[in-house]
């Protein structure tokens, strides 16, 4: 068992990064995640020799990630919504060149400069690609400070396993709130690097080059087919989710990240009133846990999807149940967090009283 500490989400994530043997962090300050760069600047280099560099922009940061990931290193960046938008170009190149790396989006309310308060409005951007071209990130959605720690380690492992960028999709509340966490032991930094890495040409071997440019359409289609096959493989192997009280459930509350925790509280309140409610929380939002919804749908009278956005994951839930049950949505936007009472009230309005609005 590792150390037990009381930590802020952003700091716990930073500590996990150091302990996971991360080789380099490149980032740019933005609220609500600036603690990451601050924590690493204070702690990392003296402890593990990890490179920590404040870039001139998120555009530069993600391209520094490209360079260091291309050298086969364990690298990470973090940002919040407007900064993640700036990284989309680089992410598309990274996904195409199949470079493993980890990023965290501590989401704030948008669109535009928006607000610094928590939001989940970047779901589409995170799970459907985000930049140009057909590609996917592996996206992990923590709902606690503990998972901010655990998913750093998991994220690095998944990225390296599939040579794919991985995103921790979290929000300003989890980034800022303090909870107790169990930290894993310090892992050594890597000393051996993959054979595709550009670390200097090896004697007697061809040079390595990393590119996303394949000017022949036939070749570019081949690359696309390979990427799609990889995403299928990820969908087959890496789906993670949590369910609560599904056995006798007539209704399901569903949401990811922070909202899933609020859904669990709302479920408890609903059960106390005699409603048979369960909860499904996707932990990976790509790959999306389609089957768990499809399997439970026939026994349900309906699903209430709750998000801190205008209704994004709800589309994936509807695709998953494919009409087998009703899927309704309740959401707050612009940095507002739904309360358990609100969720229960809207559940009763929709499913018990049958009011549409």
């Amino acid at each position: 068992m590792g150390d037990l500490k009381l930590m802020k989400g952003n700091e716990a994530l930073s500590e996990a990064m150091i302990r996971a043997g991360c080789d380099a962090y490149f980032g740019y300050p933005i609220t609500p995640q600036s603690e990451v760069l601050e924590y690493l600047a204070r702690e990392a280099s003296a402890r593990t020799g990890m490179v920590v560099l404040q870039a001139e922009s998120e555009v530069a940061a993600i391209n520094m990630i490209y360079g260091a990931a291309g050298a086969g290193r364990r690298v990470m960046t973090t940002s919040s919504s407007p900064g993640i938008s700036l990284m989309q170009e680089g992410l598309s190149y990274i996904a195409s060149a199949e470079l493993p790396c980890l990023l965290a989006n501590v989401v704030r309310g948008g669109p535009g400069l928006g607000t610094i308060q928590p939001s989940q409005a970047d779901y589409f951007q995170s799970v459907k690609g985000g930049g140009h071209g057909d590609y996917k990130l592996i996206v992990l959605a923590p709902s606690s400070v503990q998972e901010m720690v655990d998913f750093v380690k998991l994220g690095f492992e998944l990225g390296e396993k599939y040579r794919n960028p991985v995103m921790i999709l979290t929000d300003g509340a989890i980034g800022q709130m303090m909870e107790k966490v169990v930290l894993f032991e310090q892992m050594p930094r890597k000393t051996e690097f993959p054979d595709w890495a550009t670390t200097g040409k090896k004697p007697g071997k061809d040079r390595n080059y990393i590119t996303s440019l394949h000017i022949q359409s036939e070749k570019m289609e081949e690359i696309n087919l390979r990427l799609q096959a990889k995403y299928k493989e990820i969908e087959k192997n890496e789906i993670r989710y949590q369910t609560v009280n599904l056995e006798d459930a007539e209704y399901v509350f569903t949401g990811f990240g922070l909202v899933a925790r609020i859904c669990i509280k709302a479920m408890e309140m609903a059960r106390a009133k005699g409603y048979k409610v369960g909860v499904i929380r996707p932990i990976t939002v790509f790959p999306f846990p389609t089957q768990v919804y499809a399997d439970v749908a026939p026994q349900l009278k309906g699903i209430l999807d709750v998000e801190m956005n205008a209704g994004q994951m709800v589309e994936d839930v509807r695709l998953s149940v494919n009409g087998a049950t009703k899927v309704e949505f309740y959401g707050r936007m612009g940095g507002m967090i739904p309360s358990p009472e609100e969720i229960l009230e809207n559940f009763e309005r929709i499913y018990i009283k049958g009011e549409t609005k």
């Binding site: 380099a24 530069a60 391209n63 520094m64 490209y66 360079g67 550009t198 670390t199 390595n208 590119t211």
Partner: protein, 274 residues
């Protein structure tokens, strides 16, 4: 000694045609071989383009320093996007303008290796200005080979940040009007003012003498990188016969008569005591 011009050299060459009957192919008479780190494939560059020469001298320096296994290059977006098809060293292809950021990532993680970027004027001095200026200002210990031909070659001849005033391009069809289209950017001079920058030198590859000087400058810059002196840039003022709508010969005359007076050759900044 006055420098021979491109025109002089051509005149000399036409006067003295090569005699293929002589034993110039004998091993003992070899005075020049292609650099071993330049991959022996046909290049996609247009006839007469300076890129191939710039590639060659860079790889010659890598050969001569014996650092093929210790150097990592970053290719840009632009005509030299395929540089990694010709340079037999580990390379990464960067997004448009981001080469200096990519090089930063590589160099920071492997400070013991040599790292260079090879970028055109649009890549380095338009879309990538921020990445270039900040890498320079941080004193990133990298070499930037900057190819300035005053035009966007890959996209077929649009105005570049370095296009001369009055120069006709597809997006300045009446000639670059500095009042509405801005002035050519002296990016090398601008960077030379930054304390993190160790060495900035401007060259051309349009005559053999200039090729030799450019090569020496690249060698110096890599030597400075070895010494950890900071950011080094070698600018190469060159031609674009296809998009300037000129023959190779005309384009080299243009380099000499128009480009070089505007972008004077020579050292702009040298490390203290060098």
């Amino acid at each position: 000694m006055s420098e021979r011009t491109y025109v002089d050299i051509e005149a000399e060459l036409t006067d003295q045609p090569i005699n293929f009957d002589e034993d110039i192919c004998l091993a003992e008479n070899v005075v020049y071989i292609k650099p071993q780190t330049l991959i022996d494939v046909p290049m996609h560059y247009c006839p007469g383009c300076g890129h191939s020469t710039a590639h060659k001298i860079l790889m010659e320096v890598v050969d001569e320093m014996g650092i093929q296994e210790e150097i990592i290059g970053v290719a840009p977006v632009g005509c030299s996007v395929f540089a990694y098809h010709y340079m037999n060293v580990d390379m990464q292809e960067a997004a448009h303008g981001r080469a200096c950021a990519v090089a930063t990532g590589i160099k920071r993680i492997m400070p013991e290796k040599y790292v260079f970027t090879y970028q055109g004027d649009g890549d380095l001095a338009a879309i990538g200005t921020a990445e270039t200026v900040h890498a320079a200002n941080r004193g990133e210990n990298i070499l930037v080979v900057f190819i300035n031909n005053g035009i966007y070659g890959m996209t077929s001849g649009q105005m570049a940040p370095t296009t001369l005033p009055g120069m006709v391009t597809t997006t300045s069809p009446y000639g670059r009007d500095v009042k509405t289209q801005g002035y050519p950017l002296y990016i090398s001079n601008l960077l030379a003012n930054l304390p993190g920058v160790a060495y900035v030198s401007r060259h051309s590859v349009h005559t053999p003498n200039n090729v030799r000087k450019a090569k020496k400058s690249i060698a110096k810059a890599l030597e400075y990188q070895k010494q950890g002196l900071g950011f080094c840039m070698v600018e190469i003022v060159t031609n674009c016969p296809s998009n300037w709508k000129m023959t190779p010969k005309q384009s080299n005359q243009f380099v000499e008569e128009k480009m070089i007076p505007f972008y004077p050759l020579g050292d702009i900044k040298v490390p203290e005591g060098k």
